[in-house]
Symmetry: C2
Subunit: 264 residues, 2 copies
């Protein structure tokens, strides 16, 4: 049974997409078989993985709203063996409103994923990870991801607003555990865009580590411009500049994350 | 009639809140009378302006979903005369789903604002600006802001994903102009977190200026840590460190923005 991981945080711009694609690439480069699901209508993960996602491309929208099987939307990621992806197009922007009045609206991704995992080993062999990139909100797209997943990985930008939003996110996860997905666990908080030269980043890091000592990964991702340049080439930073501090940090985070689904 | 300005961009973390509060403070310090409306359930603008916003505080939720008059939610901003604010509490997170089935769901803020502006001059005299901070999505909260406003100011982080999302945002504005608010105009694109030492930022800036030559403000906001430290003290950067490059840039942006509602 693969590890099903939602990368979520309703605060915008904290590194969800950057973490989802670079962690997935890191895991695939270390031999794991990984599927990335892009649940964000912006389609940033699709861009970073060089997956076509113009309107009409079979993707997450067709699965959630159209009830199509996941199989029709899975694509290989160019340049990274063992990594596959399901893209998001801008059609997905309307899904939240379209889903509100549907039956079992929060469970659509879980159902599609379960069906897919039960039958599609011939396409890529058994999967080890499914990594779901979430949009910056706690609406029905993120709820679908939190219901489908067993684990939540929280990228946390080392800034004040991001820290302020953490308790709200924790509260939402608790609600999901209570009503929709009792098995959901927060198995990692990854510090992102960490700049040790500032006063703020170490302060935020200390605060988070003291509140959640066993969930914060030891690896912190430094703020480095090579990470933010990579998507403009349709690449992860691991392909764009494998020896850079950003690539090495994501490889280390992948190794640490693989090492233990911490059971909290 | 005050200028009604929605600060919007569905891309997360691009500097919407930072722009809304610092521009509003800059305008107020230069003598304009300004009201900030926090439409983001994260309540980051409320935090930056030091407005109480724990659940139950009268705020935007009561206006949108409860139909309460705006007057009951207006607060003075401590430390900045001529600046008032309407806070957002976490109750607002549920508003998008609650509003979907309501009548005239997109027009609730416009109606409340019109009623308020018609009668409440005794509280603060005539207002010159209403600045609305939007969440990172194009759901019903942002739609309410775009329907209530006459102008859209787009903060644009000088990064690749932010550039990619711009055409999607422009498309949404065009839809609003067509169906809900024909008078809506994009009157400014403000480049934020600009770091001239990187290759990426100047490339993004050149690209945007070539596509929208008369909408991009001449003033760009530099990436500086003082800007991101200010909210942890419940202050705008103009109060926290008035002589810093970030404060001076926001004062210049306020002066430039005040200078001309460009009629495009
Ligand atoms: N370690 C890093 N160093 C430098 N830049 C980074 C780093 N991580 C992410 N970025 C950049 O910061 C911006 C925000 O990151 P990203 O888009 O991954 O966040 P997000 O949480 O997915 O945003 P959204 O809320 O819009 O989905 C992007 O332009 C990205 O390239
Ligand atoms: N010029 C700047 N220099 C340095 N840091 C900045 C600057 N502008 C904003 N920031 C920081 O970057 C982060 C993102 O900014 P902000 O929260 O204002 O963006 P936003 O678009 O409102 O985010 P969201 O999409 O979550 O609403 C914040 O931590 C903020 O303090
Ligand atoms: Mg993202
Ligand atoms: Mg904001």
């Amino acid at each position: 049974h693969p590890r099903l991981v939602a990368v979520a945080n309703q605060k915008g711009g904290v590194g969800k997409t950057t973490t989802a694609v670079n962690l997935a690439a890191g895991l695939a480069l270390q031999g794991s078989r990984v599927l990335v699901v892009d649940m964000d209508p912006q389609g940033n993960a699709s861009t970073a993985l060089d997956l076509p996602h113009e309107p009409g491309t079979p993707g997450v929208y067709d699965v959630l709203v159209g009830g199509e099987p996941l199989d029709g939307a899975v694509q290989e990621v160019p340049g990274i063996p063992l990594l596959w992806g399901i893209s998001a197009s801008v059609d997905l922007a309307g899904a939240e409103i379209e889903l509100v009045s549907q039956v079992a609206r929060e469970g659509r991704l879980r159902k599609a994923l379960r069906e897919y995992l039960a039958t599609h080993e011939k396409r890529h062999g058994r999967l080890d990870y499914v990594i779901i990139d979430c949009p910056p909100s706690l609406g029905l797209l993120t709820l679908n991801a939190l219901v489908a997943a067993d684990e939540v990985l929280i990228p946390l930008q080392t800034e004040y607003y991001a820290l302020e939003g953490l308790s709200h996110l924790m509260g939402t996860v608790a609600l999901i555990q209570e009503h929709l997905n009792p098995g959901l666990r927060i198995t990692g908080i990854l510090l992102t865009m960490y700049d040790g030269r500032t006063k703020l980043a170490p302060q935020v890091a200390d605060e988070v580590r003291s509140h959640f000592p066993e969930r914060v990964l030891d690896t912190a991702i430094p703020r480095t411009v090579r990470v933010s340049e990579a998507p403009s080439y349709g690449q992860t930073v691991l392909q764009y500049d494998p020896a850079s501090p950003g690539a090495r940090a994501y490889l280390a985070a992948a190794r640490e994350f693989a090492g233990g689904a911490i059971d909290l």
